[in-house]
């Protein structure tokens, strides 16, 4: 399994094992892959609620008078423009424009006047890379970059029943909490940063708590969700949920060899913000290049048959390779295999005919569709 020695364990490790979870090595962490059927877990999140342990995610705190200025320099987004209590999806790029990671940045603190404090949440596999880059880029700024990976456990409650479940455990104003916002509060007696974020395409909450409170909170959420179908969920269904929701995953849709413009996410790059930022020049060029000669486009593919496309499989049309699958899985919601793939612009329009995926030598027909595959009804 792991070639790098000892796996790290979350504060919920013993609990996962008592629930019979199948564990897997994920970025050096021993994480629950699934508890029972990943399909059932997926459907529970779409129709009721699911409870996830995401404690492997990398939290980095940035504080100090120039915290916002540092983040504006280090990341491609306009972080100075984030209001207290709000969160933003952004990226950290290399000087050559390649994506180092995609991030969510939360601006903590309840008032404009409070000292600046931001929490940057990185993917588990990139947490060290992001920490190192932020630390290096902080030189010359009056700001502190702090590794808070061990300071937090992260639990997520996702699905249509999640607001009701959480409301029964907190006095926090959840109705006033918008999507991509976070507020400090108490859940089941446990101090938590309550964020209305997730990675499933459903309404839901992510709860950042001290590791010593994780078990207590998990048990309280389990109990509160008992009557409405809440189930523990592993990383396997999280992947099919985010795929249906058309959300990119680092290492699949995003990598250092792509700029945000190549990934179809050029909108996260804010050239209009004040001051320089790492990657600005290269990203300008990437934006111009994308306009002149459009890069491959990230599209959705839906299978007509039952064979599942996997990352790295060639997308074909008329006997030519026209793209590559970045993520693929059977979709529990659609009942068919689906994939995200980068394809040549000529074949990217929804409904383009004659597109297939080379599945171990056989060209299986696929329909090109716009992303996402699934959008929740509000």
């Amino acid at each position: 399994m792991s070639s790098t020695g000892e796996l790290r364990h979350t504060a919920l490790d013993a609990l996962h094992r008592s629930l019979g979870a199948t564990m897997t090595d994920f970025a050096g962490w021993d994480m629950p892959l699934r508890y029972g059927s990943e399909r059932d877990e997926h459907i529970a999140v779409r129709t009721k609620a699911g409870l996830f342990d995401l404690s492997h995610m990398g939290e980095i705190t940035v504080t100090g008078p120039q915290a916002a200025a540092l983040l504006d320099f280090a990341l491609v987004g306009n972080i100075g423009g984030v209001k207290p209590g709000r969160a933003r999806y952004t990226m950290i790029c290399r000087a050559d424009g390649g994506i180092l990671d995609d991030l969510i940045v939360y601006r903590l603190g309840e008032t404009e006047a409070a000292a600046s404090e931001y929490m940057v949440v990185a993917n588990a596999s990139n947490a060290q890379v992001v920490l190192d880059a932020l630390t290096e880029r902080a030189a010359g700024f009056d700001a502190e970059v702090r590794d808070d990976r061990d300071a937090y456990a992260l639990l997520a409650v996702q699905g249509p029943q999640s607001p009701g479940i959480l409301k029964s455990l907190t006095d926090a104003d959840l109705d006033g909490l918008k999507y991509y916002a976070g507020l400090p509060g108490t859940v089941a007696g446990v101090p938590a940063l309550i964020a209305r974020t997730g990675y499933t395409g459903e309404d839901g909450f992510e709860l950042f708590v001290k590791p010593e409170h994780a078990v207590e909170l998990w048990q309280a959420l389990t109990k509160a969700g008992e009557g409405v179908g809440l189930v523990p969920c592993g990383l396997s269904c999280r992947d099919t949920l985010r795929l249906e929701a058309g959300m990119p995953l680092y290492g699949h849709e995003l990598s250092t060899s792509l700029t945000p413009f190549d990934a179809g996410l050029g909108r996260v790059v804010k050239f209009e913000k004040e001051g320089d930022f790492v990657g600005r020049e290269a990203l300008r060029e990437a934006a111009a290049r994308a306009e002149q000669q459009p890069p491959r486009v990230l599209v959705g593919l839906v299978a007509e048959g039952r064979r599942v496309p996997r990352a790295g499989y060639a997308v074909v049309a008329g006997g030519e390779v026209i793209g590559e699958v970045t993520s693929g899985a059977p979709s529990p919601t659609l009942g068919k295999p689906i994939a995200m793939a980068y394809v040549d612009p000529a074949h990217a329009a929804p409904g383009t005919s004659g597109v297939g995926v080379d599945i171990r030598g056989s060209h299986e027909p696929y329909e090109v569709v716009a992303l996402p595959f699934y959008k929740r009804q509000k």
Binding site: T22, L33, R34, S37, E38, R39, S236, T240, R306, R307, V308, R310, A329, P330, P337, R360
Partner: protein, 125 residues
Amino acid sequence: MSNPTALRYSKEHEWLSAAEDGVSTVGITEHAANALGDVVFVQLPEVGDSVSAGETCGELESTKSVSDLYSPVSGEITEVNEDVVNDPSLVNSAPFEGGWLFKVRVSEEPGDLLSADEYTAFSAG
């Protein structure tokens, strides 16, 4: 999980029933089905195909991965389970019963098939 004692097992996690009129039934074990996760697609050999012990004769696709299906014995395929083609989840829900995969007229079997106890020890290790 308990492995039926009436069956024999391969190290590739297939089970093989005792032959009736020279024909044995083949499936994958509960241990293998659990390791695969939800099976969503099976590609089985065709009736009349010749299969060889230890060689691939199909595919089992689950949510996260695709695995080769091996035949534990050599012989000729006499029947495939169409129910499992139509509903691959039978491999997970009833690996030793409704989730059987194919029947084979055995011409030769390798000497290293395991008893239930031996397989239980093998798959635990």
